[in-house]
């Protein structure tokens, strides 16, 4: 079940222990993510089949099929995979830090908070480009700071933190609706749809922006968050091992918020991927604290698959992917709660 293999590279300069099931699980998840990604590339609406898609990828496409696959479909599919991975990673960090499956950024309102920053940047301050993810991150951090401050001495580990986060989420989504109503000509019906995350209309420019942010964030996140798994041993053991817990936890929460915020800046607050990915990843690779890499891979699978469902199930109408994740993720959360003894 948990066979461990010692690995030595470069004559022992790099060495470590690797859990076989962990590595195999991640490889399987990456394979599934790739398969879902390829399956999402064809566009039945634009009359491009899987065969033609394969032709395009092999460099034998026509001008039209190349346009559809490379310009329309590919950025969206890559964005779904990348965002899913970022959300999964963010969720895993939060769940390790809060030691609670429910303590993920989408449940506790940080995604909505980040999205408030996006709306303020776009609609009130008239910003665009890299300023938007920055505003989203700041706003997400502010939300996290306020919720943590209100939670008081119980901090990240209490039920209060989660309920307060839910309240913050409700407050911020109504603020978001208000911002949209104030600034645009949309009426109530459309306004009530705002704040459901969507990947409709993603372009290469969006993807480049986010990929840039991800390149900066991901290594930093891994460096900060990896040792946090030791927390699962308990605060005493971790302190004895020399970890400065409080500052590192806050740093990790900040990194998790930034990851969510960058996705919200482009796609809006897509709910429940961050919640479900680490829990599902645990079921594949085992291990009690959610594994970071596996959670990221699972997140990519979940978001890409949800986006595929969102586009196909009521074609030609494309649902916002946030609607699909909220239904699937909500069912999953309900099931988790139902099974609690």
């Amino acid at each position: 079940m948990s066979r461990v293999v010692a690995v030595r590279l470069l004559g022992g300069r790099i060495s470590g222990r690797v859990r076989v099931r962990g590595v195999l699980g991640v490889l399987v998840l990456l394979g599934v993510a790739l398969a879902v990604g390829v399956a999402s590339l064809p566009s039945p609406d634009a009359g491009v089949s899987l065969g033609e898609t394969v032709d395009v990828l092999a460099g034998r496409g026509t001008r039209i099929t190349e346009l559809v696959v490379l310009e329309w479909r590919l950025p969206r599919v890559l964005t779904a995979l990348l965002f899913g991975a970022m959300m999964g990673l963010s969720g895993a960090i939060f769940q390790v830090v809060t030691r609670n499956a429910l303590g993920s950024p989408d449940v506790i309102g940080f995604s909505s908070g980040a999205y408030t920053g996006v709306l303020v940047a776009l609609l009130v301050l008239d910003l665009s480009g890299p300023a938007v993810p920055v505003a989203a991150t700041l706003s997400g951090l502010l939300t996290a700071g306020v919720v943590l401050g209100l939670a008081g001495h119980e901090g990240l580990r209490g039920a209060r933190f989660i309920i307060l986060g839910i309240a913050a989420g409700a407050l911020l989504s109504s603020v978001n609706t208000w911002l949209v109503l104030r600034a645009t000509a949309e009426e109530g019906l459309q306004a009530s749809q705002w704040g459901v995350g969507t990947l409709n209309g993603i372009t290469w420019a969006d993807l480049r922006l986010t990929a840039g942010c991800a390149l900066v964030l991901l290594p930093a996140v891994m460096a900060v968050a990896r040792p946090l798994a030791l927390h699962e041993l308990g605060d005493d053991v971790a302190t004895a091992l020399g970890l400065r817990l409080r500052s590192r936890r806050l740093l990790a929460v900040g990194a998790g918020v930034a990851l969510t915020a960058v996705t919200a800046a482009v796609a809006g607050p897509i709910a429940f991927v961050a919640l479900a990915a680490p829990q599902l990843a645990r079921r594949v690779v085992g291990g009690s604290p959610p594994a970071l890499v596996a959670s990221a891979a699972m997140g990519a699978v979940l978001l890409a698959a949800s986006d595929l469902v969102a586009q196909r199930v009521f074609a030609p109408t494309a649902l916002p992917v946030g609607m699909v994740t909220v239904v699937l993720g909500g069912c999953y959360l309900a099931w988790l709660l139902y099974r609690r003894g």
């Binding site: 209100l150 609706t177 649902l319 609607m323 239904v327 959360l333």
Partner: protein, 325 residues
């Protein structure tokens, strides 16, 4: 404050809120003008705004506010969960999905037809949330029940949003309903939901004494002669009637049922029966207040009352959580 005085003050506030709701908005009328339009209107555009828009809007506000406030108080007493609210526990989302299904799948546009679907949705959701969030030996019931409601509510709201998105034309007449709004309701909607609200109110008030005993714990309640199963079933029926009718009238509104009983209890103390009576009166004040706020903060358009209520209620939820501990 003595109970009599509190009720008197609340009644006066209800009257003030009602008059304000009739007079204020995009066009401002004096109370005299409103009176003239009601008793001796000559059909001018003036009169039409008051008679066909403001009056039904205000009546629905009164009914929905009373229903949500009372059902919140009832649920909090019944579950001993201070976070119980028809919005948070997903009941309103279930009723809304019922209405959305009625509109999209069966083309039912008459409020009189929709209300039955709202009631069915509310009843089913209540059962599902109760099963998922059932009390455990290990404790932690408050959080489990609350999160169960949040999860189920999220799923149902997601499905409702999908239906609205896929059938935009079917929702033409109810554009802002999905966000929780009093803006566009006619007398047909008032008449369709009023009987259910009244029935729910009567049933809830009859149960008052038993709910009071339940708050002391199951054993004590039984010793006081309360029949537990019957009380719970009847209370769930009352909750279903109140929430289903309120949602059919004004869409899914969260946090009103949460806020009202807490504010009332802070004023008059924790006696559940009194809290229920006062919540019945305080609910309309709060809802009409939120609706009035929504008429002004996003001018030139209106902010749906559900959005205002969520914002106000979230702040109060934070206060409630901070004070428990």
């Amino acid at each position: 404050m003595s109970p009599g005085r509190t009720i008197g003050a609340l009644l006066a506030a209800v009257v003030v809120a009602t008059v304000a709701s009739l007079c204020l908005g995009g066009r401002v009328f004096s109370p005299v003008e409103v009176g003239q339009a009601l008793w001796s209107g000559d059909g001018s555009s003036h009169d039409q705004v008051i008679r066909d828009l403001r009056v039904p809007r205000t009546i629905v506000g009164l009914l929905v506010g009373a229903a949500l406030g009372l059902s919140g108080a009832l649920m909090q007493g019944l579950t001993r969960n201070p976070l119980a609210d028809p919005g948070i526990l997903g009941v309103n989302a279930g009723a809304a999905l019922g209405v959305a299904l009625a509109i999209t799948q069966w083309g039912i546009v008459r409020p009189g037809g929709q209300v039955w679907f709202a009631l069915a949705g509310a009843a089913l959701t209540t059962l599902v949330v109760a099963v998922i969030g059932r009390p455990r030996r290990s404790g932690g019931d408050v959080v489990t029940l609350t999160l169960s409601g949040v999860a189920v509510g999220a799923v149902l709201t997601g499905i409702t949003s999908g239906l609205v998105l896929l059938h935009p034309r079917a929702f033409d007449s109810m554009r802002s309903w999905n966000a929780g709004s009093l803006a566009v309701v006619g007398y047909d909607r008032v008449l369709a939901v009023a009987p259910f609200v009244v029935a729910g109110i009567v049933l809830a008030l009859v149960l008052g004494r038993s709910i009071n005993a339940l708050a002391l714990g199951d054993d004590t309640a039984q010793a006081l002669g309360v029949r537990l199963v019957r009380t719970r079933v009847l209370a769930l029926v009352a909750v279903t009637l109140l929430c289903g009718a309120a949602t059919a009238a004004a869409g899914p509104i969260v946090f009103v049922g949460l806020m009202v009983p807490h504010i009332v209890a802070a004023l008059i103390g924790p006696d559940h029966r009194r809290v229920m009576v006062c919540s019945l009166l305080a609910g309309p004040i709060l809802l009409l207040g939120c609706d009035l706020l929504g008429r002004y903060v996003a001018q030139p358009r209106e902010l749906p009352v559900g959005v205002v209520a969520a914002a106000v209620g979230a702040v109060l939820l934070a206060v409630v959580i901070r004070r428990r501990s």
